[in-house]
């Protein structure tokens, strides 16, 4: 019986939500809109020096994002010497591959990149729950059936986490933020060895 209780407790603990795991207090359902400001200016060309580490391979290049119009972004990766590696369009939930190097044209990889970059450039989302801790706000949303948490510290977006069963699967970290742009961005995967590091140039 005691074992049963312990295992039940254990089970309950392991089912803890992402908010609970991080000691956030969940508030009433909010109609607040989540805003990611980092790729929201149509007048701006967002150019980053990128380093992508995939298992034991490391690729350098330029990562370029352009907002074409509302809910429409281009995301392009080129080598330092200018050769295109991939070129994607995100238009609402639609995803289009304008170009990809043959060697990278693999469905699994494309799925990962699609999911990552869709979230990266997505500007506005409906909030499902809102929770708070000290000066931080954690806003929950769903993007194409995946659960995401947006962490704002003093109103500034520092992190987005994609979760599964309350655990982080992918995190997006934004740092050195000024004027609604993030100088450093990291996309880290917990279940595969993939990390994308971006540094504004």
């Amino acid at each position: 019986m005691r074992y049963l209780l312990i295992s039940l407790l254990f089970l309950l603990a392991s089912c803890a939500s992402y908010q609970q795991r991080n000691n956030f207090e969940v508030l009433e359902i909010s109609d607040k809109v989540i805003t990611n400001p980092y790729f929201s200016d149509v007048a701006k060309d967002y150019v980053y020096k990128a380093n992508i580490v995939f298992y034991d391979k490391s690729f350098g290049g330029l990562f370029i994002v352009k907002k074409i119009e509302e809910n429409h972004h281009r995301v392009v990766f080129t080598t330092e010497m200018g050769a295109k590696i991939f070129d994607f369009s995100f238009h609402y939930n639609e995803f289009k591959v304008n170009y990809i190097l043959d060697e990278m044209d693999k469905k699994i990889l494309l799925n990962i990149l699609e999911k990552d970059f869709r979230v990266l450039v997505r500007e506005k989302e409906k909030t499902i729950t809102k929770s708070i801790k000290n000066n931080s706000e954690l806003l929950e949303t769903k993007i194409v059936s995946k659960k995401y948490y947006y962490l704002f510290n003093k109103g500034i977006l520092n992190k987005i986490a994609r979760t599964n069963n309350g655990k982080e699967k992918v995190v997006f970290l934004f740092s050195k933020i000024s004027d609604a742009s993030a100088e450093n961005i990291k996309i880290l995967h917990n279940n595969i060895k993939l990390s994308i590091n971006l540094k504004s140039i």
Partner: protein
């Protein structure tokens, strides 16, 4: 009315700023570039690279320097806005990405070897291989421009055309690599010094 005529004349001359060379002019240029390339043992040059993507408001501008040593050593180094260099040596690429070093062996990929060879020969401008390219020659005020369109489908998938500009001496002053999408990379050379001694240390990795 006079204004319109001037305007029309101006338009006509603007269109004709780049005219096709005659066969004689073309072979003279070809000879000049070839003999210049043969005399070239080393090249050291600054460059500014403009990456043009149609949807961007401005081209992405990066700059650095180039070192070439006969027959096929090339070091391409970016200094601004980031520090990155790549050395083309034998069948390898040696990359130094802000201090992080890596290398790529090209021997297994025929295509990369070909692309690599193109980069090396475009630095000297000597790409006049009619089996590989459809070539057309143009003249401008003080420069000549040659358009090289790859015939090999595997290459033309990556690069639709190379446009190389030569000065009066037959030195390369600008290379434009145009992608099938019409986006392009334009590289403008300056302070180009021919046959200045370059030690092997420049190409060490």
């Amino acid at each position: 009315m006079r204004k319109i005529i001037y305007l029309l004349l101006f338009m006509v001359s603007a269109i004709h700023a780049q005219t096709k060379m005659t066969n004689v002019e073309a072979s003279l240029l070809k000879e000049k570039v070839k003999s210049q390339a043969e005399k070239t043992n080393t090249i050291s040059s600054d460059f500014v690279q403009y990456k043009h993507l149609d949807f961007l408001s401005n081209d992405i501008v990066t700059s650095g320097n180039l070192a070439f040593k006969n027959p096929d050593l090339v070091k391409w180094e970016y200094v601004k806005p980031f520090v990155y260099s790549v050395i083309f040596k034998n069948e390898n690429l040696y990359i130094n990405d802000e201090g992080k070093k890596s290398d790529v062996n090209l021997s297994s990929s025929k295509l990369f070897k070909q692309l690599n060879k193109l980069i090396v020969s475009s630095v000297k401008g000597d790409m006049f291989d009619e089996k590989e390219f459809d070539i057309s020659y143009f003249k401008q005020e003080s420069t000549s421009e040659v358009h090289f369109t790859p015939l090999n489908k595997k290459i033309s998938k990556y690069i639709k055309a190379f446009h190389i500009q030569f000065n009066i001496q037959g030195d390369v002053v600008e290379i434009k690599m145009i992608e099938p999408s019409d986006d392009y990379t334009r590289i403008v050379f300056s302070n180009r010094i021919i046959n200045t001694p370059l030690s092997d240390a420049v190409f060490a990795h």
